[in-house]
């Protein structure tokens, strides 16, 4: 009964990733026979300024996304918990962006920041700042990050909210009786108990943020002049635009190793807390 699920994983994920590992040591392009070249592809991407730019851009985006998202999630979870009436409506409101595709999200934010007609452009201009993500790479990356936060806040919120409602109410009550102020109660009682969930959310979002592609591709395609490429976009262009499957594969394996590194903590935690004894 386990077989169908494992088969999907092996055929669609495991075998292809191993094949990518092999590809990363070959000179190959679409339709040509791969030829073994050792570490040449890794040397090529590591000496390519565009690769380093894409790595730095990825790190910028993923760090903005993860921390803004986690802090907002904690705030929203606390707010949600403090609301007594109309919870279903509030939950629907918070979850709504979860239903939106990256394409539509990019469209909406792009429209709000369109140079002449954007509602946010107007707002910023009134404050004395004229944004233009189309020419300023840093602004484009910040915009990509905001779209990422907007799209994935519901997910992080649910992770943290689940942990929040698992905290026994009498703990906070006891702290209040002892004279702790709200901020102290949050910092000394709630936050430490939320920490494991926050860590898991951070790792989760690091792993998934690291592979960001669509938001960047749909907004700038990595331009102008390759300044807003992230690693997945760099990989895509190498593979499907410059026909350098070997270099793309090497980038791919660096991404896999990065994800494994980020995840090792999480996997270790899961292994210890659950599957060793439970399954």
């Amino acid at each position: 009964m386990l077989l169908p699920m494992q088969l999907q994983l092996i055929l669609v994920l495991a075998l292809p990733s191993l094949y990518v590992l092999w590809l990363s040591f070959t000179e190959s392009s679409y339709g040509a026979t791969p030829e073994f070249v050792g570490w040449a592809n890794y040397a090529a991407i590591l000496s390519d300024p565009s690769f380093w730019r894409s790595l730095v851009n990825t790190l910028i985006v993923v760090n903005i996304v993860v921390y803004v998202e986690i802090i907002l999630s904690i705030g929203v979870a606390l707010l949600f918990q403090s609301v007594k009436r109309g919870r279903a409506l509030l939950m629907a409101m918070i979850l709504a962006p979860y239903a939106v595709s990256e394409v539509v999200a990019v469209l909406a934010w792009r429209f709000m920041l369109e140079p002449d007609i954007g509602i946010l452009t107007g707002l910023f201009s009134a404050l004395g700042y004229v944004p233009n993500w189309a020419t300023n790479p840093i602004e484009a990356l910040v915009l990509v990050s905001m779209i990422g936060v907007w799209l994935h806040l519901p997910f992080s919120f649910l992770l943290i909210y689940a942990a929040l409602i698992a905290i026994p109410a009498d703990l906070g009550e006891a702290a209040r009786v002892d004279g702790a102020r709200p901020w102290q109660r949050f910092r000394l009682v709630t936050l430490p108990l939320l920490m494991p969930a926050i860590l898991i959310a951070i790792i989760f979002r690091y792993i998934f943020g690291f592979r960001i592609f669509s938001e960047v591709w749909l907004l700038t395609q990595g331009g102008p002049a390759r300044t807003t490429e992230v690693m997945a976009v760099y990989l895509y262009k190498n593979a499907f635009r410059y026909n350098e499957f070997g270099m793309a594969a090497a980038t791919g394996w660096l991404m896999v190793l990065g994800a494994l590194l980020l995840a090792s903590f999480y996997v270790y935690h899961v292994y210890r807390s659950g599957f060793r004894n439970e399954v």
Partner: protein, 276 residues
């Protein structure tokens, strides 16, 4: 009393800001899709409230493939959902009812392999799909989308099936039911809430997915997000209205689904995340 009032006001303000953040971009798209082109384009006419369906008629006239592409999305999303839910429920049943080193290793493998970034998989699959004549087909997208969800769904289903007392299975077995019968007659009916929860995750993902649709489909299997992005490339700057109409149609069904089934979504993520 005074501080109570202040707290309530602050909370109201926070909820208002949250509402603008969450719903603002969505409302902007939906409402703009019903506005005449000249109003969308002119900040001076921002509060002009004329309603029109022109954008929709223009959309269907200029992009007759839009509705068939929505149909592709529906086929792909339903297919991926059915496949992922079926295999994950089977796996979740095994994870829930049996113990062992091999099973732990299989769960470990499932979590580990889930970490592979989707774009990495696209590299080898591209020539293989071509060779197997699977390029630009629904089945390829169905299998891909499903595979990326079965790990989490299996854990989710395990947690849901854990809540069904094993004594029920045993009683059925004592009465002479086979494993398959026990699964179909006892476990499956009681696991439907979990299956719906898991199904919504896959459906939403498959309906909205862009990367694989972009790489692996060109004409026959083009899904709705892809056609919206194509329209964005071809008309942006001149015909925002048509674009908003397309975006609204792509967005509306799954937004309704998420709002309607929010309870399942919350329960599912909690089962999937809290326990592992």
């Amino acid at each position: 009393m005074k501080s109570d009032l202040r707290a309530t006001l602050l909370r109201g303000l926070a909820i208002g800001m949250l509402g603008i953040w969450s719903l603002g971009p969505i409302l902007l798209i939906v409402l703009s899709s019903f506005r005449p082109e000249r109003d969308i384009f002119s900040p001076a006419r921002r509060f002009n409230l004329d309603v029109t369906f022109d954008n929709y008629t223009q959309l269907f006239a200029a992009f007759p493939q839009f509705l068939p592409n929505m149909g592709n999305s529906l086929i792909v999303a339903l297919g991926a959902t059915a496949l992922a839910v079926t295999t994950s429920t089977l796996a979740g049943y095994v994870y829930s009812r049996q113990r062992g080193r091999l099973l732990a290793a299989s769960a470990f493998f499932a979590i580990l392999v889930r970490l592979v970034p989707p774009i990495v998989v696209s590299l080898p699959l591209f020539p293989i799909a071509d060779a197997l004549k699977l390029s630009d087909t629904h089945i390829l997208l169905i299998v891909l989308y499903s595979a990326f969800w079965v790990s989490m769904l299996s854990v989710m289903m395990k947690v849901f099936i854990d809540q069904i007392p094993p004594t029920l299975d045993e009683a059925a077995r004592v009465d002479g039911a086979s494993t398959t019968q026990t699964f179909l007659r006892i476990v499956l009916p009681l696991a439907t809430a979990g299956m719906i929860a898991g199904g919504i995750f896959v459906f939403v993902y498959a309906w909205n997915e862009y990367l694989f649709a972009f790489i692996f489909s060109s004409t026959r299997a083009v899904t709705a997000p892809l056609i919206v992005s194509n329209i964005m490339d071809s008309v942006a700057g001149t015909q925002w209205g048509v674009l908003f109409a397309a975006a609204t149609l792509q967005l509306a069904p799954v937004l309704a689904l998420v709002i309607f089934f929010q309870k399942f979504l919350v329960a599912g993520l909690m089962a999937g995340s809290v326990k592992g």
